[in-house]
């Protein structure tokens, strides 16, 4: 029971991170129908920005943890959003309206480009980050060394709370704001939306910016949680987040979050009860299963094909 609870906590934390990345995939897919392959690398860049901000804090002598966190959050979100914008502007906008394959290849190219760009600039070696927030509650087991202790770290609480907060804000943004309205309009019919005065280019750009900002938050949390960043971290995380988006039903925002949490839980329980080595295989196997048995995902709409 204790072990189960511990895996549940770990899984939820992991799921929050995947969910935040998955939103970027699902929004972009919803609006322009392409898999933004470079999104995982945008997340990686977010993690690096947060890490650099933390280092700067250390050098200029800001040691109050809430301020450090706030600065990291702002730096990661603003600077990574610029990357999201630039990726769309450079690699996808010129290809809008061409075949389905061209943007995908371009996205793969962008992903290779970003990975190598970071590798060249920041070096290939993994970067260790000093933990900022330590400690937590011991929920069960009495804290002794002979029993199994269920730990709930402060950081895990922050991650889950921040994710819930962001999700709420985001859901509000999509449902109520003019931006959300034009986004949903573009999703339904881009040409019609542009005829009715929606600035389609701007809406798509903002979609990428928001996706990148959320991925940056995920990157910041991972930097704090695992404490190791390297230039290749975006690849596997990106695929898992995409799996989460597909599992929840691609194009659906609550679906992305649900999928993220499910993937996080599956991964945590799989590595807790079976083998940690095969946890990635489990994630991919689930992706294949979902696509075979329920291609629309848990909360997705069926795709109707017109002849």
């Amino acid at each position: 029971m204790e072990y189960f609870l511990q895996q549940l906590i770990n899984g939820l934390t992991l799921g929050a991170v995947y969910g935040l990345i998955a939103i970027g995939y699902t929004m972009v897919y919803g609006i322009i129908g392409m898999v933004n392959f470079a999104h995982g690398d945008v997340y990686m860049i977010g993690a690096f920005q947060a890490m650099i901000m933390l280092l700067i804090c250390g050098v200029i002598g800001i040691s109050w943890v809430p301020l450090q966190l706030a600065l990291m959050l702002i730096a990661a979100v603003v600077l990574t959003a610029a990357y999201g914008w630039a990726v769309e502007r450079i690699a996808y906008r010129p290809l809008r309206g061409s075949s389905r394959l061209a943007p995908l290849i371009s996205a793969i190219g962008m992903s290779i480009l970003l990975e190598n760009y970071v590798q060249l600039l920041q070096g290939p070696r993994p970067k260790p980050v000093e933990p900022v927030i330590r400690g937590g509650f011991t929920l069960m087991g009495g804290g002794g060394t002979d029993t199994f202790n269920v730990q709930l770290g402060y950081l895990q609480i922050i991650i889950v709370l921040l994710t819930v907060l962001l999700m709420a804000a985001f859901a509000y943004l999509i449902a109520k704001s003019p931006l959300g309205r034009s986004q949903r309009a573009c999703e339904q019919d881009m040409k019609m939306a542009s005829l009715l005065g929606v600035n389609v280019d701007r809406t798509i750009s903002l979609t990428f910016v928001m996706g990148a900002a959320l991925a940056a938050v995920a990157g910041m949390m991972v930097t704090l949680y695992w404490g190791v960043n390297d230039f290749f971290m975006g690849f596997v995380a990106g695929i898992k987040a995409f799996t989460a988006a597909v599992l929840g039903g691609i194009g659906s925002l609550p679906g992305a979050m649900l999928g993220g949490v499910l993937i996080g839980l599956i991964e945590a329980f799989w590595s807790g009860y079976f083998s940690a080595e095969y946890k990635d295989v489990a994630a991919f196997a689930i992706l294949v299963m979902v696509l075979i048995f329920r291609p629309t995902g848990l909360l997705g709409r069926p795709e109707i094909e017109k002849v």
Binding site: Y29, G33, V35, I45, F48, Q49, M51, I52, M53, L55, I56, V59, A75, L79, A82, A86, I90, A91, L95, S99, R100, L101, A102, L104, I105, S106, I108, G109, S111, I112, L113, L114, E115, N116, Y117, L121, Q122, G123, R125, P126, K127, P128, V129, E130, I239, T243, V246, S275, E277, Y278, D280, V281, F284, A285, L287, V288, L291, I292, P295, E305
Partner: protein
């Protein structure tokens, strides 16, 4: 296109407003570049052994990037408002200045001595350069070339009038015909050239590095073969496969494991490897081929990663990350081996023909083996295109619903394409294993799949010659540019994006069905 209309009465007024507009755009660009580069370029993090993470600041580079990119943007924006001279002249000059000298430097100098300072002394002059890293200057120089290209195209449009739909369609038609003609004539020429390589080698400038060059050619041909194999799946059947490298891995591991544990030779194992890879293709294809487009791409990607992870983690069977070592080298159907000293009961190639042993013999032998394998792949593909099954693939690519209505079974048709492509990957994989003598999961990462797919797409999906050219370009060029090893993949990524923007349909794009109903001739109103 309205700016062309306003071009005629270029007055001071128009020019001033153009300046203001361009200035705004340049300022916005500078801001974006600053945001992009401030942390990533400005702070280089360093983790020394046993010390906490620290950083070195590089703000000069950030400033240069902001200035150069926004100046370029300014020129392009001016050009859009009808003032094209700055973009034309500035672009060309900066290309020659930044990239030209760098390229000469790369060509002339030993990579080890090509330190940042000595790099530009080739011409005997010491030219100041914005960035310390020579390659970064070269990349910015190519930015100048892009600027020039944009301005030049605009000038041409202004002179010949804007492209109407008819003109564009006619141009595309002309290009497609050109591509078809090119494939017709270029194909045999390339094959003859490939066969005659040993004749050219001694008189070529690389005669003192024959082994390395032929070795690179073997690599290029391996990718040509993989490209042709994947072309069946992507180019002909229109199925996007991002996990092609999995079948390559299956082939390589089949040969590696069977030859090391049962002692079979290459020629006995290769068909097994192909068959096993094809079986994997069927196994994977059966459940997933109902999916379409992007979903299929992602599932195949997931499958490719699963195979790699299993190869890493199933240590008893695959030896895990250490890989398989001492894989037997290739021989000629048991008649002779290519080693220096033959094992008992065998003769070496040199003994067999009464020649002196030379290590180049083995490389040439490998070269011809892969050439023959690749040509077989090509031949089979060309023949299959003329068979009902090949026609069905192409029809399926064009319109699945119509195919279904005409009684073609989509699942079976797709499965054969998948299995066929997988089989060739299996052959290529076993060749790879025998060439390397060592395989590990490291060789079968997603990047390989992406590279093979890029070859197919760049070649213009479905065009055999295009795929060969793309393989030469994408695999051969990095081999030539070994000096730039560090920047190889960066440039590769940039090239993939740019080629997609420039020619979204590939180099020799003629993705047309092999046969068409004769409708086109009567269609063109008086043509």
């Amino acid at each position: 296109m309205t700016d062309i209309a306003t071009r005629a009465p270029v007055g001071a007024q128009v020019r001033r407003s153009a300046m203001i507009e361009a200035g705004k755009e340049a300022a916005a660009t500078a801001l974006i570049v600053f945001l992009l580069s401030f942390f990533m370029v400005g702070f280089k993090t360093e983790a020394n052994q046993g010390q906490p993470l620290g950083y070195v600041t590089q703000f000069v580079d950030v400033a240069w990037a902001c200035v150069l990119v926004s100046v370029g943007r300014f020129a392009i924006a001016l050009d859009r408002h009808g003032v094209s001279k700055p973009a034309l002249i500035g672009g060309l000059l900066s290309f020659i200045y930044l990239a030209g000298i760098g390229v000469i430097g790369v060509a002339e100098q030993d990579p080890d001595s090509a330190a940042a300072t000595g790099f530009y002394n080739v011409l005997g002059i010491n030219v100041p350069m914005p960035f310390e890293q020579p390659m970064v200057n070269v990349i910015f120089g190519f930015g100048g070339l892009t600027m020039f290209g944009i301005a030049y195209r605009r000038l041409r449009v202004a002179r010949h009038g804007a492209l109407t739909v008819e003109v564009r369609e006619a141009t595309e038609e002309r290009r497609a015909q050109w591509a078809r003609r090119m494939s017709g004539t270029l194909g045999p020429i390339l094959i003859v050239l490939a066969i005659c390589v040993p004749i050219f080698m001694p008189i070529s400038p690389w005669s003192n590095a024959t082994r390395q060059v032929v070795d690179s050619l073997v690599l290029v041909l391996t990718y040509v073969m993989l490209g042709w194999g994947l072309n069946i799946v992507v180019g002909l059947a229109g199925l996007l496969d991002l996990g092609y490298v999995a079948f390559y891995a299956v082939g390589a591991y089949t040969y590696g494991l069977i030859s090391t544990s049962f002692g079979l030779n290459f020629w006995e194992c290769m068909p097994l490897a192909g068959a096993l890879a094809a079986t994997f293709g069927l196994l994977l294809g059966f459940p997933v081929l109902r999916l379409r487009g992007d979903y299929l791409a992602i599932v195949t990607l997931g499958f490719g990663e699963m195979i790699r992870l299993i190869l890493i983690n199933w240590k008893d069977f695959t030896h895990g990350p250490d890989g398989i070592t001492n894989i037997p080298k290739i021989d000629f159907f048991g008649v002779f081996t290519m080693e220096r000293h033959a094992p008992e009961g065998h003769v070496t190639f040199a003994e067999f023909f009464g020649m002196d042993y030379s290590p180049t013999q083995r490389v040439y032998f490998l070269y011809y083996v892969i050439l023959v394998l690749a040509l077989i792949t090509n031949f089979v593909t060309i023949r299959l295109r003329k068979l009902p099954i090949g026609r069905a693939w192409e029809a399926l690519r064009e319109d699945e619903t119509a195919c279904r209505a005409l009684g073609i079974n989509p699942t079976n048709t797709k499965l054969t394409a998948f299995a066929m492509g997988a089989m060739f990957a299996g052959f290529a994989g076993s060749f790879f294993a025998t060439r390397q003598g060592f395989i590990s999961p490291e060789s079968f990462v997603f990047l390989e799949s992406a590279q093979i797919l890029a070859i197919v797409v760049l070649g213009g999906m479905g065009s055999q010659v295009g795929v060969a050219l793309a393989a030469i370009l994408l695999v051969g060029l990095p081999e030539v540019m070994r000096e730039l090893a560090l920047y190889r993949m960066l440039i590769y990524g940039i090239a993939m994006v740019l080629i997609m923007i420039w020619r979204p349909r590939g180099l020799l794009a003629h993705r047309e069905p092999t046969i068409l109903l004769r409708r086109r001739t009567g269609n063109g109103a008086g043509k």
